[in-house]
């Protein structure tokens, strides 16, 4: 079990940042899987009182606080409308309602977990993260950075998404995914992610213009083939690398066809 000696319920992000500079301290997000760890740390920093649990819609973006739960993402009408249900689809398979009432967006993204449906979604949508010390960083860059001591304040989703679809494969409902995929048209360009490879999600942009003439059977097959041949997959007890590779093409194809049909999942 995770054990700690101090619990800090901070009142400002600055206080959280200062406390987090001590290596013994860690920021507490949803705090799930406490019993699946066996370590003792100095203290945990709770961001619950900082008002980071809101989804704000501005003219040109959604600003999603780091402490917004996956259940809030699932139930947000504004996100559902904007993303044609893709946000809901990405989280609704995760364990159960009680779990999703605890798990946070910030915790999901900070950890850069391989199994993360949330990372697969936001990476495909061209999201940014706002860090207290560093400022705004593209999520695509953030996922490649080492875990550091900055405080993730919010996820910023610019309103540049013209269509998207989320797909995943699970061996059983509510289990970790075997493979995740999100395709989106962002700022006029198609891009997509493959996650749970089992490594963390990776982004594929249509840089060679395979989809420049739109979505049709040939262009979808070409892009799906591109993803399938370039994605790096591995094996674990959920699935083999070759199965994941083949299915990455299948999910890409399904997601693109769903976008063509209106982005619904």
């Amino acid at each position: 079990m995770l054990r700690f000696k101090q619990y800090y319920r901070v009142e400002t992000i600055d206080e959280a940042y200062e406390l987090n500079q001590k290596k013994a301290n860690h920021i507490m997000a949803g705090n799930l899987w406490l019993r699946q760890q066996n370590r003792t740390i100095g203290g945990v920093i709770d961001l619950s009182d900082l008002g980071l649990d809101q989804i704000e819609e501005t003219e040109d973006a959604f600003v999603i606080g780091a402490m917004v739960t996956l259940r809030q993402i699932e139930c947000s009408e504004a996100l559902a409308q904007y993303l044609n249900g893709a946000a809901r689809e990405s989280v609704r398979h995760i364990v159960g309602v009680q779990f999703r009432n605890l798990a946070t967006v910030g915790g999901s993204l900070y950890g850069r977990y391989g199994f993360s449906d949330v990372l697969t979604l936001f990476l495909a949508l061209g999201a940014k993260v706002r860090l207290y010390h560093t400022g705004e960083v593209e999520l695509a860059d953030y996922v490649d950075q080492k875990l550091d001591r900055d405080v993730l304040e919010a996820v910023i989703l610019p309103k540049k998404v013209e269509g998207c679809s989320y797909q995943c494969i699970r061996n059983s409902e509510t289990d970790f995914p075997v493979l995740t995929c999100c395709m989106a048209k962002v700022n006029g360009v198609y891009q997509g992610t493959i996650g749970a490879r089992p490594g963390r999600a990776v982004l594929f942009r249509d840089e060679t213009g395979l989809l420049k003439d739109g979505i049709n059977e040939e262009s979808v097959a070409a892009f799906a083939d591109y993803v399938r041949t370039h994605v790096v997959t591995g094996s674990n007890y959920r699935a083999g690398a070759e199965y994941r590779r083949k299915m990455s093409g299948v999910l890409t194809k399904r997601a693109l066809m769903a976008i063509k049909e209106g982005g619904l999942n």
Partner: protein
Amino acid sequence: MEITFQLNGKKITRSIESDTILLDLLRELKCYSVKRGCETSNCGLCTVFVNEKPILSCSTIAARVNGAEVVTLEGLQDEAKAFGAYVADEGAEQCGFCNPGFMMNAIAMFRENPDPTDDEIREYLSGNLCRCSGYEGQLRGIKAYLAYKKGEVQNHVTQ
């Protein structure tokens, strides 16, 4: 550290360790409906309401509920009794160990969505594992209870 919170409508002040888990604290406070199951955030046996939302008490630090309202099945006796009779009537309980967590989450669903479809029921309760029943009895119990609540049928079970 000391925390104060509402437990089933009663103000509780308690001195705890920083890393005390809510599940442990609630059982210390004699809320034995809160079961220790998987402790890996999967089974839903330890479900309680914090500020009216169902959460997993095995995965919540007790310090976090300082100032919050916590409700366990002990605090929902009337609702539990009415609904539980329908669950029992459908033979949905076998060992019964999952039942408190299942009842809590079902009550959360009734409050959030009083008229769920079968798929919505299955999805909402997918975080409550049962190793005996196969879930069909639970689904029948929920549907029978909802039909009674909507006035579609008369109460036919002994409460």
